[in-house]
């Protein structure tokens, strides 16, 4: 966190100043470790073993927060009799379809919850087309508000007991054996972390892409969620699981997404299936009868009204069928492989440099040569824009500029100081930033580019009113512009995102005002309330007050600084403790109040018991804080929505030096996709003699992602001017490598060269009785800019985790040799030689 989020890290420093203990778990000793009370190096890719052991420790030592767990989580809920755990089936859950290599998730549902098959008969939860970003709003696969529970947690089929047996083998001994963390050290840290829970205390878990970029990334975070729910650390001040995002407004770009599988506000993109042909069936499929997602129809209809304006009417399903449909894997890797196979014509690359920043960068660059046209908008001519003339493939003779027909348009982009806009940070805090200087030369903002591109496309479509152009012709695209370049007025965009009444275009005051009859329009329901009046854009606010910074920016939803904060009070509405009070029930005024905006219906009393046929939010009792779930509980068990299981389970990385210590028969996540093909090959499973070391990539403070924003700036480039690889003194001695000399690192994909930075900050780990070496390489270098180096992402494989289709970058295998990698064709020969070694 100190490495990649130094500004956010100031709060960790402040917490430490007040007595907080900092635990850092990372294969490398980093700038964060230097500030930590405990540093635990672990074998990359064994996080679920470590977290599972913490869960097991919490359960077996009765250290969980019982009252919180019983009332606020689904631990007491009873599961179906036909469910079988990985412990019963040797590494897979019940429902495995060997032929389809996928799960049928019915047996993961609560007992008594009917499966929610779609009107068209498609089995819920079975679609393989989409990603998981917007899946299962409110529980697609079941009516999860119907369940039986056992508040004593004794029923052998209740979530609590199943959890206990699932993690029973995740012991401190296993941690020592598989992660390489000594047992005593683990026990010491377990006690420190678990002690930070209960009515008087809380503990937080911060993670960054080190956790997400695995073939089981979401399940690692799930394991953290289970632990935090057991300890009562969610919805309370100082608790939580904090995702440290990789860019300035990555949160914003998932809220109002640049992803293929969701629409703004986490509404799923409709699929091609018959259950998404009509708005009604789409709403039935993704909406929920109980919990907050019962409002799903209001949000999608208001979104359609914002996009298609007057053209969207009740009689034409509010132009629902103008939305594109997901027909397959259109994620980055999905379409990039299509591109490599010549199935794509053109591509816009904006604010991204996949030529060095994406895994198997060699494949990424080579695929670009199959395009007819490529548009790159960036500050500088990145490797992605110039692959055709100066990439390693050209130097090695694998690509010949003469034969590349791709027409490339390079368009200069404005920097953040040259444009109005906003950032949404990891706290969901939207902060506006004003333009400081006029853009230089032909630089233009993204809003300018997208607005004027749309305007021109619309002008073209208006001349040809064919059915194909109907969506474009219906699209509202009427922002006012200002300045000599016709920059769209950003406040008008914010007003549309906030939402308005169609009748008189007055802004709504929040998402509770949105309707499902087409009388309101809203560009992104979770942001609704950010701009309740034309002269009041709350993202611009700069007057913080109180402990939680209200008055500075705007935290969606409704300026709540801590989500699910009803959980910060006891079931009866009183704070758990004076020290940790946040939101509580005011008995006199009969409403929720506190230091934060309550994330709960203001007038719903803590003893509210829903009527039998209550729907929506009314159907959730007064002690159910997790209002987005149809059952109002925090999910220790995920009954619906995940493709690889209701509980996290340890699987080895797709490329590993080791077999699975828990399930030898199931080495890797069975649902993960390797996308294995000649241009994306893998090392052999279970330990490949050619690649004896673990390879892990990371980022440096001094450079930003693929380096397009830093390697070209002298004041940053000089701080880390060359690619290096961090190796331990022990490995260096074994391979006779001197500090600072060049080494060649190879994987099943490619080979690169780097300077050897030999440091005691990298430690060999004792795993299964043998010394395991980890080789750590910052992935931010490329062949352009003031400082250059090999492209470490050439070493990585394209792979897809099953839920969100993220690649594995933190745990692969490699080999290391002394000496430089020859330039040109000879370099290719060196790699081929490596591949020919006995496996």
């Amino acid at each position: 966190m100190a490495e990649n989020h130094p500004v956010g890290f100031q709060w960790v420093m402040e917490a430490r100043h007040k007595g907080a203990k900092v635990i850092h778990v990372d294969p490398r000793y980093t700038r964060t470790s230097a500030m930590a009370d405990y540093w635990l190096p672990l074998r990359a890719g064994t996080d679920i073993i470590f977290l599972g052991a913490l869960i097991n420790y919490t359960l077996t030592h009765d250290r969980y927060f019982r009252e919180y767990v019983v009332h606020y989580t689904n631990a007491p809920i009873i599961l179906r009799e036909d469910f079988r755990d990985t412990e019963d089936l040797g590494g897979i859950f019940s429902g495995w379809d060997k032929e389809k290599q996928a799960y049928s998730p019915e047996t993961w549902l609560y007992e008594g919850a009917p499966s929610a098959d779609s009107p068209s008969g498609e089995k819920a939860g079975h679609s393989q087309a989409g990603g998981g970003h917007g899946k299962d709003r409110g529980g697609e696969a079941g009516r999860l508000y119907k369940y039986n529970d056992d508040p004593t947690l004794q029923n052998p089929r209740c979530v609590f007991q199943v959890l206990k047996s699932h993690f029973a083998r995740y012991t401190p001994e296993l941690v020592e054996r598989a992660c390489g963390i000594p047992k005593e050290k683990f026990l010491q840290v377990a006690d420190v972390f678990i002690s930070a829970s209960g009515p008087e205390k809380t503990g937080a878990i911060c993670y960054a892409v080190g956790w997400t970029q695995h073939s089981k990334g979401p399940q690692i975070i799930r394991a953290a969620a289970i632990l935090q729910l057991l300890l009562g650390n969610i919805g309370r001040p100082g608790g939580g699981i904090l995702a440290l995002r990789g860019h300035a407004t990555i949160q914003g770009s998932t809220d109002i997404p640049t992803l293929y599988d969701i629409l703004p506000g986490y509404l799923p993109m409709p699929f091609f299936g018959s259950d998404s042909q009509k708005l009604e069936s789409y709403i039935k499929k993704h909406g929920s009868e109980t919990g907050w997602w019962a409002n799903f129809d209001r949000y999608i209809i208001s979104l359609l009204k914002a996009w298609y304006g007057d053209a969207a009417t009740q009689s034409n399903d509010f132009c629902f069928n103008y939305l594109p449909r997901v027909t397959g894997d259109h994620s980055h890797f999905g379409y990039w492989l299509d591109m490599a196979d010549g199935k794509m014509e053109g591509l816009f690359v904006m604010g991204q440099n996949p030529g060095v920043g994406a895994p198997n960068a060699k494949l990424q660059r080579t695929a670009l040569s199959k395009l007819k046209w490529l548009v790159v908008r960036d500050f500088v001519e990145t490797e992605t824009a110039s692959f055709w003339k100066d990439s390693p493939e050209v130097q090695r003779g694998e690509l010949n500029p003469k034969n590349i027909a791709t027409e490339i348009f390079f368009l200069p982009a404005s920097g953040h100081a040259e444009k109005d806009g906003s950032y949404t940070n990891t706290q969901r805090l939207v902060q506006f930033h004003e333009k400081a200087v006029d853009a230089l030369g032909d630089n233009r903002s993204e809003t300018w580019f997208v607005y004027h591109l749309g305007r021109r496309l619309k002008a073209k479509a208006a001349k040809e009113p064919t059915p194909r152009n109907a969506a474009l012709n219906a699209l509202t695209w009427d922002y006012n512009t200002h300045g000599k370049h016709g920059e769209p007025v950003v406040d008008e965009i914010d007003g549309e995102i906030n939402g308005y009444r169609v009748e008189n275009r007055t802004l709504v005051s929040g998402y509770r005002d949105l309707k499902n009859n087409g009388s309101t329009a809203c560009g992104c329901w979770i942001y609704s309330g950010m701009m309740p009046a034309p002269d009041e854009n709350k993202a611009r606010k700069r007057e913080p007050h109180g402990l939680y910074g209200h008055g500075w920016g705007y935290a969606w939803p409704s300026d709540r600084r801590i989500l699910y904060n009803r959980a910060s009070a006891r079931p009866d509405g009183k704070p758990w403790s004076e020290r940790k009070k946040l939101v509580w029930w005011d008995e006199e005024k009969k409403e929720w109040t506190g230091h934060d905006i309550p994330d709960f219906t203001k007038k719903k009393p803590p003893d509210h018991k829903p009527d039998k046929d209550a729907r929506g939010d009314d159907a959730l009792a007064g002690d159910k804080p997790f209002i987005m779930h149809p059952d109002g509980t925090g999910w220790i068990w995920v009954p619906s929505g995940l493709k690889d299981g209701p509980l996290p389970t340890h699987y080895e990385p797709l490329e590993s030096i080791s077999s699975n210590p828990l399930y030898p028969e199931v080495p890797v996540n069975p649902v993960a996709k390797k996308m294995e093909r000649p241009d994306n090959p893998y090392a052999f499973e279970g330990g490949d003699a050619r690649f004896p070391y673990i390879l892990s990539t990371y980022r440096l403070t001094e450079h930003h992602t693929g380096g397009g924003m830093t390697r070209y700036l002298s004041h940053l480039a000089e701080l880390q001017p060359e690619l290096f690889a961090e190796i331990s003194p022990e490995l260096a001695a074994e391979l006779d490598i001197q500090h600072g000399e060049y080494i060649t690192i190879s994987s099943a994909r490619s080979a690169i060269e780097a300077r050897a930075l030999i440091t005691a900050r990298i430690k060999p780990l004792l795993v299964e009785g043998r010394n395991v070496h980890q080789v750590c390489v910052p992935y931010q270098f490329g062949y352009k800019g003031l400082v250059t180096g090999s492209v470490p992402n050439d070493l990585l494989a394209i792979s897809e985790e099953p839920n969100v289709r993220i690649m594995e970058t933190k745990a692969l295998v490699c080999n290391v040799k002394r000496g430089r990698l020859p330039q040109g064709k000879a370099g290719l020969e060196v790699w081929k030689e490596e591949m020919r070694r006995p496996a």
Binding site: P6, Q10, S33, M35, A36, T701, S714, H739, R755, K763
Partner: protein, 260 residues
């Protein structure tokens, strides 16, 4: 009049180098060359004519990071942002023959670039090795204490950019007090080797850039007893005078002897 100072608390430094970059941006200093040093993550290597703030990385196999990994021989990584000390008795200022180096109202020692003739006397006279001549340009450069910003009531760029308040800026006497309190606070948390670097009883007679460090200041390249070269001047002139006297006497004796 009250004078200002830095207090660089290395126990709060996370090695992000924001101070280095903010300094270069504000003062429009060029890069230092793109040389990979191999010395931990430190590639600008030292304070010099084009690096006025510099973060040292002390990689040490023994415990040194704050609160870090106690009881074991684990790696530790210390960071500290070095800068011109703006000495009370400044060697550079005393040595400057052209009057290019002056004392500003906040206590800053400032090299006026339009007066400097590049003689480099200041370079050899700095007890901390801070001032350096830019060979291309011909003149000497160092930290200005952001005198331009201070005149406008702003904190120096490095202090402003520091995310963890490792670089504090304020009144010298107040920061002296704060540094002592901080040492006591660390003491209470079981960190017993924190020291304030403030060489008051040496010939530099105090500095405007205090440091709070753990362990021996020498591991951060800070001399325990910095001395201003001019302190040797009296001794030097006395020796010279004696030598001159002796030689004069000898010459006289020689002449006198000849007359006989």
């Amino acid at each position: 009049m009250s004078t200002t100072a830095f207090l660089t608390d290395s126990t709060l430094c996370i090695g992000c180098k924001a101070c280095e970059v903010a300094c270069k941006e504000w003062n429009q200093i060029s890069e230092d060359g793109y040389e990979w040093s191999g010395h931990s993550y430190d590639n600008t290597q030292a304070v010099g004519h084009s690096t006025w703030r510099h973060v040292k990385f002390v990689e040490n196999p023994v415990e040194i990071g704050l609160g870090g990994n106690s009881g074991e021989q684990l790696p530790a990584w210390g960071f500290s942002s070095d800068v011109c000390k703006h000495c009370e008795v400044a060697g550079c200022l005393e040595a400057c023959p052209t009057g290019a180096i002056v004392r500003m109202e906040f206590g800053a020692v400032f090299v006026q670039p339009d007066v400097c003739n590049g003689c480099s006397y200041c370079v050899v006279s700095c007890p901390f090795g801070v001032v350096q001549k830019n060979e291309e340009d011909g003149r000497a450069f160092k930290c200005t204490f952001c005198s331009d910003r201070q005149k406008a009531g702003l904190a120096p760029a490095c202090a402003k950019a520091c995310p963890t308040e490792s670089i504090k800026f304020g009144n010298l006497e107040e920061l002296r007090l704060e540094a002592q309190l901080r040492v006591k606070e660390l003491e209470a948390r079981g960190i017993h080797d924190a020291v304030v670097y403030d060489p008051l009883d040496t010939s530099v007679k105090g500095i405007h850039a205090l440091f709070l460090l753990r362990g021996d200041p020498r591991s951060y390249n800070l001399p325990p007893h910095p001395e201003v070269p001019t302190t040797y001047m009296k001794k030097g002139w006395t020796s010279a005078a004696i030598a001159a006297g002796v030689m004069l006497g000898a010459t006289l004796l020689a002449f006198l002897g000849e007359r006989r």
